[in-house]
């Protein structure tokens, strides 16, 4: 019983993992950039589809979650927006731009939530 094939397999896994990760990030980035293009033309539903794909391809891509949150906000899906912002911040807690978006979102979300509290 030779351990050679096992070592070889392990070597292949270790060396190909960063490559696979880079490829997935690359694909996710393409989806994110396409999403931005369509969002700029007002096609927010298509943008949501693209950014959802990006988060599936690379669940560690904070920008994809941030953009998805913005799109959900634009569509009035505030619970989903909050979830996406929180994921983006969990990945990149020090990202000032995501934090700024989230703070602005919270202002609106609090306003919308006030209605339930004010109701008699």
């Amino acid at each position: 019983m030779s351990v050679r094939p096992l070592v070889l397999a392990l070597f292949l896994v270790v060396t190909s993992a960063p490559h696979a990760w880079a490829e997935q990030r690359g694909q996710a980035k393409e989806q994110v950039e396409f999403g931005i293009q369509v969002a700029q033309r007002g096609l927010w539903k298509e943008a949501i589809y693209r950014w959802e794909r990006a988060t599936q391809l690379d669940p560690t891509y904070a920008a994809a979650f941030n953009n998805l949150a913005v799109a959900y906000e634009h569509e009035g899906q505030l619970a989903k927006a909050r979830e996406a912002y929180e994921k983006a911040l969990a990945i990149e807690p020090n990202n000032a731009l995501v934090r700024q978006n989230y703070d602005l979102f919270k202002e609106i979300n609090d306003r919308a939530a006030q209605k339930d509290g004010a109701q008699s």
């Binding site: 980035k29 994110v32 950039e33 931005i36 969002a39 700029q40 904070a62 920008a63 941030n66 953009n67 913005v70 906000e73 634009h74 569509e75 009035g76 505030l78 990202n95 731009l97 995501v98 700024q100 978006n101 602005l104 979102f105 609106i108 306003r111 919308a112 006030q114 209605k115 004010a118 109701q119 008699s120």
Partner: protein
């Protein structure tokens, strides 16, 4: 030589700026967030701003101004047909229904002289929240509102209280001040100064009543205030409109969907 150097530096910096812009990994984008109405008003075709129990400022008739403003805003919005009728004499109704002005029963054994009763023809002083409390029972008078509803073909009725009162406050305020250093460079620095300030506080409570049943559907209370330098003379009516302006979007959002405009950053 110097001119050439300057030209080179300028083109270099322009190139740097262009490169930075090209490499920008974020984009600002305008968004409009829709906020759903707080109240389902699909059952109503008409709305009646019935009037408010108001007080506290002799220069502004908070009842009439609020009725006028809300009616015109709702007309512009076109959510429902706005009923143009006289406002209801709510104070009188509240008094007549007895609970607001129940006179205290005099105690014959009491040694203290009887307190002089207030003149019933004189308008009551409504300076504070607690002054409005004795009249609040009118809003829970289901039979009264049902009757009003029948009179106006069962609209959505908007009523409540409006307190618009002057206020004065003094204390330390942080403000920004321009300063110039020894090289003549302008700087803005925060400065804490003691100031006497005066202004107004607006505290309306809007009560939405179902004209079919007379029951309260929704109640909403707001509080807005404005303060000026003590030497600034701002008419009470201007302050009233400035404060109403701030809370009108929230009032309108009770009846119809609103879109809140903003800007967000998309990342690459």
């Amino acid at each position: 030589m110097t001119a050439r150097l300057r030209k080179t530096a300028l083109s270099l910096s322009l190139g740097l700026v262009a490169a930075l812009v090209a490499c920008t990994s974020y984009i600002e984008i305008p968004i409009e967030t829709p906020i759903q109405p707080k109240l389902d008003v699909s059952a109503f075709q008409r709305i009646f701003i019935a009037g408010f129990i108001a007080g506290a400022n002799e220069d502004v008739d908070a009842n009439m101004e609020t009725v006028r403003l809300l009616r015109s805003q709702l007309r512009n919005k076109g959510v429902m047909r706005v009923i143009d009728a006289d406002t209801l004499p709510l104070l009188e109704v509240a008094k007549q229904s007895g609970e607001a002005s129940t006179p205290p029963v005099p105690d014959p054994q009491a040694a203290t002289p009887p307190v002089q009763e207030p003149d019933p023809n004189k308008a009551p002083v409504l300076n504070e929240e607690k002054d409005l409390e004795p009249y609040n029972h009118i809003f829970a008078n289901v039979a009264y509102w049902k009757r009003i509803g029948e009179e106006f073909q069962q609209p959505l009725i908007v009523t409540g209280t409006v307190l618009f009162a002057p206020q004065q406050r003094s204390g330390f305020v942080q403000r920004e001040q321009e300063v110039y250093d020894s090289f003549g460079r302008r700087q803005v620095v925060p400065v804490r100064t003691y100031m006497e300030r005066k202004g107004f506080v607006l505290r309306p409570t809007f009560i939405f009543i179902d004209g079919r049943t007379g029951e309260t559907l929704h109640t909403e209370t707001f509080r807005e205030e404005i303060l000026y330098n003590a030497n600034q003379q701002t008419p009470a009516l201007s302050s009233y409109f400035e404060l109403m302006d701030r809370l009108l979007p929230a009032f309108l959002n009770t009846l119809s969907a609103q879109k809140i405009k903003g800007t967000r950053t998309l990342l690459k």
